[in-house]
C-alpha cells in the first residue's frame, strides 16, 4: 500500500464530489456569496461618487463666476455652497464637511478679459483619493469651454488654450494613488475566502462525523486523501472565478488588457495555495469551529496586508515582509497587472514564484500534520 495510488485518489475524489454535490446549501452559498460580496464591495468601494459637498469662496460676483459655478454644478460631481471667509472654508475642509473648496479670486473677470489666463485654486481633500479622482478629472475638462459664450469676441476665437486654469491642489494626501481599482483585487479576496474556509472544514467534518476513524482503518495514503478532497473545491473555486470575472467586466466595466488564460492559470496556483493552507488548518483543528477560526485568523491579515485595502507601499517594512509572504498580495498584483496594465508572464513572474513556494510549503505541512493514527 505504499506510494501514491491514482485509483485510490480517484476514489476519494469521487466520494468528495458526491458529498459536495449533495450539499446544496454550500453550493448555493459558494455561488451566491461571491456575487453578493462583489456587488457590495464593488459598489461600496469602487463607486464613482457624485454630489460631493463643495465650498465656494468668491472674491467677486460676476458673470464669469456664475458661469463657473453653474458649470461645476452641471458636471453632477459637485454640490456647491458658499463660504464667507477662508477660515470658515478651511475648517469645513478639515472636518470633512466639504471635500473641495473653490477659490475664485477678486479681479478674475478683469484678468480673463485681459488674456492673463488667471489660475483658480481648488483645494481637495485627498485622504480618500478614489473619492475625488473622478471629480478632479471633471474639473480639468471644464477650463476650455466654460466661459466660451460670455467671453469678449477677440478672446473667443483665440487658440492659445483656455482663458484660465483650475489647479486642483490635493491636500492631506498629495500623492493620490490613481491606478487603484478594487475589483481585480476582489477576485483574489473572494476566492480565498470561500476556498480556504471550505477546505478548512473538510477534514474536521470527517473527524466530527466519526468517518475519520473508518477512513484511517482503510489503506489510503495522506496525499490521496488530500488531493482527492481538494480537487472538487478547485473546480468550485474556478466557478467562482468565472462568475467574478464575468460580473467584473459586464457590470463594473473592468478592462481586460491582458490574457484571461494567463490569469486563469495563475489563479489555479492561487487556489492551490489556499486549499493547501485550508487542509493544514483542517488537520490541526479538532473541531469545525476551530478550523473556522484558524481560517479567519489567516484571512484578516491577508485582507489588511495584501494591498487590497491599504496601499502596499504605504506600509512599514515589517508589514510589507508579512504581506510578501501572503499569496493574496501576489494575486492582487497579478490580477491588477494583467487586467489593467496588460501585463504578460514576464512582468508577473516575480509574483508567481512566491505563490508556488507557498503552495509547495503548505502542501508539505499539510501532509506532515496528517495523522494516520488516532493517537
Amino acid at each position: 500500500m505504499s506510494g501514491f495510488s491514482f485509483n485510490r485518489f480517484l476514489a476519494v475524489l469521487h466520494k468528495e464530489t458526491l458529498e459536495m454535490r449533495r450539499d446544496k446549501a454550500t453550493i448555493g452559498l459558494t455561488v451566491m456569496l461571491p456575487l453578493i460580496q462583489l456587488f457590495l464591495f464593488g459598489y461600496a468601494l469602487n463607486a464613482n461618487p457624485r454630489h460631493l459637498p463643495t465650498g465656494v469662496l468668491t472674491g467677486e460676483e460676476s458673470r464669469y463666476s456664475r458661469d463657473l459655478e453653474a458649470a461645476l454644478h452641471n458636471t453632477g460631481y459637485f454640490d456647491l455652497r458658499r463660504f464667507a471667509s477662508e477660515a470658515e472654508a478651511d475648517t469645513a475642509l478639515a472636518r470633512g464637511d466639504v471635500l473641495f473648496v473653490l477659490n475664485i479670486p477678486a479681479g478674475f473677470t478683469r484678468d480673463v478679459d485681459n488674456g492673463r489666463k488667471p489660475a483658480i485654486l481648488m483645494d481637495a481633500d485627498a485622504t480618500d483619493p478614489t473619492a475625488i479622482a473622478q471629480a478632479s478629472a471633471a474639473v480639468n475638462a471644464l477650463n476650455a469651454t466654460v466661459l466660451q459664450r460670455d467671453l469678449p469676441v477677440p478672446l473667443q476665437n483665440q487658440t492659445g488654450g483656455a482663458p484660465f486654469q483650475i489647479i486642483v491642489h490635493s491636500r492631506y494626501n498629495p500623492e493620490a494613488i490613481t491606478a487603484i481599482n478594487v475589483v481585480p483585487g476582489l477576485i483574489g479576496v473572494i476566492v480565498s475566502f470561500s476556498t480556504l474556509v471550505i477546505t478548512a472544514l473538510t477534514m474536521t467534518r470527517e473527524r466530527e462525523a466519526g468517518t475519520m476513524e473508518n477512513l484511517l482503518s482503510m489503506p489510503v495514503r495522506p496525499l490521496e486523501v488530500m488531493f482527492g478532497k481538494i480537487m472538487p473545491y478547485v473546480g468550485l473555486g474556478y466557478v467562482q472565478v468565472f462568475l467574478i470575472l464575468a460580473v467584473s467586466v459586464a457590470v463594473f466595466g473592468v478592462p481586460v488588457h491582458g490574457s484571461i488564460a494567463l490569469l486563469l492559470a495563475v489563479l489555479g496556483l492561487f487556489i492551490a495555495c489556499n486549499l493547501a493552507l485550508g487542509f493544514t488548518f483542517s488537520t490541526i483543528a479538532r473541531t469545525q469551529m476551530q478550523a473556522q477560526q484558524l481560517a479567519q485568523f489567516a484571512l484578516l491579515p491577508s485582507m489588511m496586508l495584501s494591498g487590497f485595502i491599504y496601499p502596499f507601499a504605504g506600509m512599514p517594512l515589517w508589514a510589507r515582509a508579512i504581506g510578501e509572504a501572503l499569496p493574496l498580495t501576489h494575486i492582487i498584483r497579478i490580477a491588477r497587472g494583467i487586467l489593467l496594465k496588460g501585463n504578460g508572464f514576464a512582468e508577473i513572474a516575480g509574483d508567481v514564484w512566491p505563490m508556488a513556494v507557498f503552495a509547495v510549503a503548505a502542501t508539505g505541512v499539510a501532509v506532515w500534520s496528517y495523522r494516520e493514527t488516532l493517537d
Binding site: 466520494k15 462525523a209 466519526g210 475519520m212 473508518n214
Partner: protein, 304 residues
C-alpha cells in the same frame, strides 16, 4: 499447534493521566468468534484500535495475523475489517456508493460484482440506492458490516456492532457473523448482551484495562464458582431488600417470579437466608450459575 489470529502481550495505552489499557495479554485462535466483554470504559475500544493499528501502544506488542502490530500496522489494515462503534460511513452517499468507495480504497478487482454480491448477501440490494443517513439503526449496522467484510478480511474487529439494534436485527446480524466465521474468518466482537456472549466460542472479560477472565462460556461460569439460589413464592419482594448486604450475599435481584441470590460463600449465604427468608411461603432452591450472574459479579468487583 494452534495458530493465533491475535497474539499480543503486555499492551498498554495511556491518555493523559488515565491508564486505559495496562498489561493486556490476548490470544485468539484462528477461525474463532471471541466475545469481548467488560463495562463501559474498561478499555475494549482502545484495545481494538491498537489491534488494527489506529492507536500505537505505549508498551507491549505482538502479532495480528502474524504481522507485527507496531511495525506492520499498514499491512494489517489490508487484512483486517474494523467496524467502529459509531456509524462511520457517509450519510450523503447511498449504500452502494459507500460500498463502492470502500472497494476502491482497497483496490478490489471486479469491483462492481463484488459490491453487487455483497449487497445481495447482506439483503441490502433493495436499499442500494438509499442514502445511508436514511437507514434505520439495524440497516446501518448491516451496511457497516458489509463494508467491513468487502475485502474479505481474515480478521474482523466489531466494536459493539449491535448496540441499540432490535432483537430480530441482532439475531440476523449474528447469523451473518456465524456464517463468516464458518468460512474461516476470525471475529473479535465487543458486546454488552449476554445472549451474544453465549454465542461466542471464547469470552474475554476486561476491567480497568486489564484482562480479568477468559475462556469458553462454561469455563468462565465454572471458574467464577458462584453460588446461586432461586427463591420463589409469596413474600420474596419483601425479603430482597434485606438480603442485599447480608453476610455472604452479593446480589439479590428479582427476575419476574423468582428472587435470584448470588454469592461466593455457600455456608454464609445459607445462614443469611435462614435468618432473613423465614416466610413459610418461600421456596429456596440452589441453581446453576449463568453467564450474566458472572458478569454482574465481575462488574461489582473493585477493579485491580
Amino acid at each position: 499447534m494452534t495458530r493465533y489470529a491475535i497474539d499480543v502481550h503486555g499492551l498498554a495505552k495511556r491518555f493523559g493521566d488515565r491508564q486505559v489499557v495496562s498489561g493486556l495479554d490476548l490470544r485468539v485462535p484462528e477461525g474463532e468468534i471471541c466475545g469481548f466483554l467488560g463495562g463501559n470504559g474498561s478499555g475494549k475500544t482502545t484495545t481494538i484500535r491498537m489491534l488494527c493499528g489506529l492507536l500505537t501502544p505505549d508498551a507491549g506488542g505482538g502479532t495480528c495475523l502474524g504481522l507485527d502490530v507496531i511495525k506492520q500496522s499498514a499491512e494489517i489494515r489490508l487484512q483486517v475489517g474494523y467496524m467502529t462503534q459509531r456509524f462511520s460511513f457517509y450519510g450523503e452517499l447511498t449504500v452502494k456508493e459507500n460500498l463502492d468507495f470502500v472497494a476502491r480504497l482497497y483496490q478490489l478487482p471486479n469491483r462492481g460484482k463484488v459490491v453487487a454480491d455483497m449487497l445481495e448477501r447482506m439483503g441490502l440490494a433493495d436499499r442500494a440506492d438509499q442514502f445511508a443517513r436514511n437507514l434505520s439503526g439495524g440497516w446501518k449496522q448491516r451496511m457497516a458490516l458489509a463494508a467491513c467484510v468487502l475485502h474479505r478480511p481474515k480478521l474482523l474487529l466489531l466494536d459493539e456492532p449491535t448496540a441499540g439494534v432490535d432483537a430480530k436485527a441482532r439475531r440476523e446480524f449474528w447469523d451473518l457473523i456465524n456464517d463468516m466465521a464458518a468460512e474461516g474468518m476470525t471475529v473479535l466482537v465487543s458486546t454488552h448482551y449476554m445472549d451474544e456472549a453465549e454465542r461466542c466460542k471464547r469470552i474475554v472479560y476486561l476491567s480497568g484495562g486489564r484482562l480479568i477472565v477468559q475462556g469458553t462460556a462454561e469455563d468462565v461460569v465454572r471458574d467464577a464458582a458462584l453460588v446461586v439460589f432461586d427463591l420463589t413464592g409469596e413474600g420474596i419482594d419483601k425479603v430482597s431488600k434485606r438480603l442485599r448486604g447480608a453476610p455472604g450475599i452479593e446480589s439479590a435481584t428479582i427476575f419476574g417470579r423468582a428472587l435470584r441470590v448470588v454469592g461466593l460463600d455457600r455456608d454464609a449465604m445459607r445462614a443469611s437466608l435462614a435468618t432473613i427468608a423465614t416466610d413459610p411461603g418461600i421456596v429456596t432452591e440452589e441453581v446453576p450459575a449463568r453467564l450474566d450472574d458472572v458478569f454482574i459479579h465481575l462488574l461489582q468487583e473493585p477493579t485491580a
